[in-house]
Symmetry: C2
Subunit: 133 residues, 2 copies
DNA sequence: TGACTTATTGCAATTTATTTGCAATAATAA
DNA sequence: TTATTATTGCAAATAAATTGCAATAAGTCA
């Protein structure tokens, strides 16, 4: 939290109560804007949805959060200070789990096969979680 | 094309000129609804955007097309009768290339590591293409 | 071929997701 | 404590996707 606060202030930006709230609401699990909005407004607080959008865009610029696009149209956000990982999305209950995978070999193959300078990648799995099977 | 026509008719659905047009417009490269809409309307034809949406949804149900969600919010569609592949997306010019990768080992690790019954996955790479480097 | 049935289309209007403009507010520095 | 200005909330605009419904046309059968 303090690292993030410093990061924000070093950019000449302000560490507002709204930003703090959103940071608290963000779990590892990627959440939609609406979910984050509901989470912060479930307490005594009230925050406009526009503010949620703006803060998340700002956090994205600063590298504090990652944007995760799953199969639905709503974007999702998660804190970026976790280890690099991928997602397992349950098509029944919508639950999302993180998973870490060895992917060095795969990335090497891509580098060999293509002229692209790869900067990032996303790897998402869709299926049915244990609970829904 | 005939396989697809049969698939449609076997479901008691009609093989309309609009569906034919959209099939022609679909390349391997995943396109947005707007791109497909423009492609079909560039000729003498005129087709409503709603129709494009509806036909693509229908094709998705029948498994004729795949939905591809990249980092932007607009969904993309591509014919599903190609070999399974992944995408290289240039962040500069927006160009999208297909790439085929050996992924058996990766999928095996996922199965070993998780309780999920994996049904599909998406693997997208973002970077800079040769031309833009 | 022509008439009939009904899936499909086009158009207008909605809904949903996201963005923008601007005055009021509040975080920080002096 | 005051001044500066980044940020917020609200209303309105834009963009993406969906829905209702009457008109159209694909396929069927006489």
């Amino acid at each position: 939290m303090d690292t993030i606060k410093k990061l924000i202030k070093d950019k000449g930006q302000r560490f507002t109560s709204q930003k703090k709230e959103i940071l608290c609401a963000l779990q590892q699990k990627p959440q939609t804007v609406l979910e984050i909005y509901k989470a912060v407004n479930s307490k005594k607080n009230s925050m406009d949805k526009t503010t949620v959008y703006r803060i998340l865009t700002n956090f994205l610029d600063l590298g504090i959060v990652n944007k995760v696009q799953l199969n639905d149209k709503e974007a999702r956000f998660e804190l970026s200070n976790r280890k690099h990982h991928h997602h397992l999305v349950c098509e029944d209950c919508g639950n999302i789990e993180n998973i870490q995978l060895p992917e060095d070999t795969l990335l090497k193959v891509v580098k060999k096969k293509s002229d692209f300078k790869i900067k990032s990648h996303s790897l998402e799995f869709f299926g049915v979680c244990k609970h829904c099977q």
